[in-house]
């Protein structure tokens, strides 16, 4: 009895070690395409299914994280890149990485149908190609607002009013792309000095900075913090899900960035990466983008999206990606020193 049990145990162990060994080397017929992305988790399955339906020989493997973290990760792997293609990451980040010689140019089939604003005009073939824009918005919990007697904010400036003290939450621009596009847009709207002054005032009202760009809206939706600086897609999604929130596009203008893709230099799966690139600029893909996002790279496709703040498209700022990419590190370091580094030393 006992010795049989032990024999089985031994067999399991031996078998296990073998499987561990095999598993490590990996043996699959399909091409695994390692895709680094910052797209929201709840959309990933949809994209994977749609793409693999059209290209059954390719198997997408997602590595997802917030924009800032994905950018840092890519930067850290610079000498030994792991990703085949970066997909759905902020154009600002891709431009920064492009300057480091991270990517190889490729003009996907049908790129001529995209708006010129939406892909790399500096290089030919382009190093990065935009897919859709995500736009800053403020999520405002009406139930909690009633409790604390908070007026509905309509502008960025409103958020610095003392009435909102401790009631505002925003993403940390060092880790979140949404956080950075907010900071970047304020600078482009107000000029750098005024933007810092604005953020000093805002910092007083901020309850804390989150790691991800969607967390503030989720926390606003659940009433944890009434006002969350986030982005339109997350706000609309939460509102459609039944959260008691208003999604607001502040009157001064809203920042935005392009979810874009770029093929990593020296990828071993170039063919598969190009397939994803081609698919990503197709009308079919654009229609899927539009299910959740109001602005896509191919003109004439987009239909209005439910619960997006009215007039938000008009409020999108004239975004200077090149400026943002060039100044990103400087701005982020200064931001860290001002607001992150000095978090509550006296407590």
């Amino acid at each position: 009895m006992r010795s049989k049990f032990l024999k089985q145990l031994a067999a399991i162990t031996a078998g296990g070690l073998l499987v561990l060994g095999l598993g490590a080397s990996g043996a699959q017929a399909k091409t695994d395409l390692l895709v680094y992305t910052a797209i929201e988790a709840d959309e990933l399955a949809k994209f994977k299914k749609a793409f693999e339906g059209d290209y059954p020989d390719v198997n997408i493997k997602w590595v997802r994280d917030s924009t800032g973290i994905m950018t840092s990760k890519l930067m850290a792997e610079k000498n030994n890149p792991k990703a085949d293609i970066v997909w759905g990451l902020a154009a600002t980040s891709l431009m920064k990485l492009s300057n480091e010689g991270y990517f190889q140019g490729y003009a996907p089939k049908g790129i001529e149908k995209l708006g010129k604003l939406y892909y790399d005009q500096k290089n030919n073939p382009p190093q990065w190609v935009g897919q859709r824009a995500w736009i800053a918005s403020v999520c405002f919990n009406t139930v909690e607002a009633g409790k604390y007697k908070l007026p509905l904010p309509t502008s960025w400036a409103d958020l610095t009013k003392p009435v909102y003290k401790g009631h505002v939450i925003m993403p940390n621009p060092n880790s979140s792309g949404t956080g950075f596009l907010d900071v970047s847009s304020w600078m482009q709207l107000m000029g750098e000095d005024n933007a810092w002054k604005f953020m000093d005032a805002l910092h007083v009202n901020i309850s804390r900075y989150t790691h991800s760009g969607s967390a503030p809206c989720k926390l606003a939706a659940s009433g944890e913090v009434p006002v969350g600086i986030s982005f339109a897609y997350r706000g609309a999604k939460s509102k459609s899900g039944g959260a008691p929130i208003e999604v607001i596009a502040p009157s001064e203008g809203v920042g935005w960035d392009l979810e874009s893709f770029a093929i990593v230099k020296n990828t071993k799966n170039l063919a598969a990466a190009r397939m994803l690139a081609d698919w990503s600029v197709s009308a079919k893909a654009m229609k899927i983008y539009n299910e959740e996002y109001a602005v896509v790279a191919m003109p004439g496709i987009a239909k209005p999206v439910k619960n997006f703040p009215p007039g938000i498209l008009e409020k999108m700022i004239q975004n200077d990606f090149a400026w943002a990419a060039k100044n990103q590190d400087r701005i982020l370091n200064k931001w860290r020193d001002k607001y992150d580094a000095k978090s509550d030393p006296k407590k």
Partner: protein
């Protein structure tokens, strides 16, 4: 062969050349293989981590530049201060609570003792993130009893301390319980005979007798809290501590060099506490060897009721924490729609890797339990029972104890440096399930090893000599005698490894890949993304699984005891 030739060694005083038997070679071979494993799984990674702290991003040696930067960055420096504040507060409160709780269990005649003991151990089954998430539901802005904080915020030191208390309570309580069970009834009889009051007896007998237990519990609490990052991750708010700093530096900024520096700073108190604890443990063992008579409490209505009240309260709080996480995980949309449903269990729509994470975690835990138990038990057996080869055995002993001094975050980070190094031939392991198994086995090696050693030490040291004289190879005796006799300890080890592999976050958070996302890390990532309720739901899946395994373990132990341990009965 001539007479002079055979006599020569004796006359010239040449040392006898021992012939190493085939079996000894096998033993040494396996011992070396396990030592090699530990070298690769802890020694080399730590070396790479250490050296990284003295390098810049391009790998050039920069001496203490990184450390200078660290200590001149006020934010990071404040983290040390914050970490110490949190740790000392938590340790202080936990020691008092755990002491009183254990006192009630051992020194009173209150009812439901084993029930309370079981409840006190519940937090072991949770990832440390879960009590923290539960606290959000109690004391967050939308919490049910937020007002009880008198306007203070749960996000900050108060919340961290509360979460950590729940996280480390079972560990401190277990140590106290062991220390109290060891005390000598004769001292109490003597004290009573001398007419000392209860209070005086407490201060002259109870407390001094507990001093090693108290000190040991303090060090364990200290190490667990200062290296935990689950609780401060969820409840830290703007309050930074060392553990979250490592995470921020590495995951947030991908600044591995600075991460290495912070983790070395984190390593210092952990190692100090480790050595202090070892020292104290040794003294406690010396105390244990005296022939103590176990203390049997006498009923005392008032005291028993007071203890029942206290233990009941603590038990209630622990169950409430668990119950709140359980409840919140089913609530559709806290706090606006309190209808129940399974929406939060649709993990595939969230960050963290979906249901696959859960099954990956089970896979990891199973592998860790099987591979870890086999390796650790065999390793302990060889360290204890093999012949000669003193140097190898001492080295092995050191390697087996070492993992305990290394916090998980530090270990995980060290793995990145070592296994992701472009020149490392083992690089193929990076981002795979095996590396998670290796890391987890290593992370929890020491406690499992010590459990195995304790069980093996209780066996007659001459079994191996007898087998050798009967020409039975050691491995047959190992299989026919050692393993069957040690079945209870082996089951304990495998359960310990399984539960810890399910709940651990700290080391694996740096090592998972898209194919090997883990449930415990998913809790972290979902909470990070603001999906608090799904995070609680995944946390509950971990608790339920760990509890289930615990249940299976106790059933298995009982039935195995009946079948294979018949010989224990007289």
């Amino acid at each position: 062969m001539t007479g002079t030739a055979t006599l020569a060694p004796a006359l010239s005083g040449l040392a006898v050349k021992e012939k190493v038997s085939r079996e000894d070679w096998i033993m040494r071979g396996i011992l070396l293989a396990i030592a090699l494993f530990l070298t690769v799984s802890i020694l080399l990674p730590l070396y790479f981590l250490m050296s990284k702290g003295f390098q810049d991003k391009d790998g050039t040696f920069t001496g203490l530049a990184n450390f200078t930067e660290f200590f001149s960055t006020p934010a990071l420096f404040y983290s040390i201060q914050n970490s110490l504040v949190i740790t000392l507060w938590t340790s202080g409160i936990v020691l008092i609570l755990a002491f009183t709780f254990a006192y009630g269990l051992t020194r009173s005649c209150m009812p439901f003792k084993s029930l309370f003991k079981g409840i006190a151990l519940v937090p072991i089954l949770m990832p440390s993130l879960l009590p923290a998430i539960s606290l959000v539901y109690f004391f967050g802005k939308q919490g049910v009893i937020t007002s009880w904080l008198f306007g203070y915020e749960i996000y900050g030191p108060i919340g961290i301390v509360m979460g950590e208390i729940i996280y480390v309570f079972p560990h401190a309580m277990t140590i106290m319980l062991i220390a109290m069970a060891m005390s000598d009834a004769r001292l109490y009889e003597a004290s009573e005979a001398l007419g000392a009051s209860k209070l005086k007896t407490f201060f002259t007998v109870t407390l001094p007798g507990m001093r090693y237990g108290l000190v040991s519990a303090f060090f364990v609490t200290f190490t667990l809290v200062i290296t935990d990052f689950g609780v401060p991750k969820v409840l830290g708010g703007k309050y930074n501590v060392l553990a979250t700093d490592v995470y921020k530096q590495v995951v947030g900024r991908q600044d591995f060099e600075m991460g290495a520096v912070v983790s070395m700073v984190l390593l210092v108190p952990a190692v100090l506490a480790f050595f202090a604890d070892r020292l104290v443990q040794r003294k406690q063992v010396a105390m244990l060897s005296t022939r103590a008579v176990p203390y049997v409490p006498k009923p005392s209505r008032g005291f028993d009721m007071a203890m029942l009240g206290f233990c009941g309260l603590v038990g209630f709080i622990i169950l409430a924490i668990l119950g709140m996480a359980f409840f919140a995980s089913f609530v559709k949309f806290w706090p606006y729609d309190l209808t129940l449903g399974l929406k939060n269990y649709q993990f595939d729509l969230m960050d963290g890797g979906g249901w696959a994470s859960y099954f990956n975690s089970i896979e990891l835990a199973s592998w860790t339990a099987v591979v870890g138990t086999v390796m650790i038990f065999i390793g302990a057996y060889l360290v204890e029972k093999s012949n000669g080869f003193q140097a190898g055995r001492s080295a092995m002993q050191f390697l087996c104890i070492m993992p305990m001094a290394v916090p998980g975050l530090v270990l995980g980070l060290a793995y990145i440096f070592f296994f992701n190094h472009p020149d490392n031939p083992l690089g193929f392991l990076y981002h795979t399930m095996p590396i998670l198994v290796i890391c987890t086995v290593t992370h929890f090696y020491t406690v499992a090893h010590l459990t195995a050693v304790t069980a093996l030490k209780q066996m007659d040291p001459e079994f191996e000599s007898v087998s050798a004289s009967l020409k039975v190879p050691f491995y047959k005796t190992f299989r026919r005698v050692t393993v069957p006799v040690c079945v209870p300890a082996i089951l304990d080890i495998s359960m310990y490894l399984f539960v810890n592999a399910m709940t651990t976050v700290s080391a694996v958070v740096f090592l998972y890949s898209p194919d090997t996302t883990l449930a415990s890390v998913a809790v972290l990532n979902m909470d990070d993304a603001g999906d608090t309720a799904p995070a609680a739901a995944m946390g509950m899946m971990i608790v339920i699984t760990a509890a289930g395994v615990r249940l299976i373990h106790s059933l298995l132990t009982r039935s195995l005891a009946r079948r294979t341990q018949a010989w224990r009965k007289r």
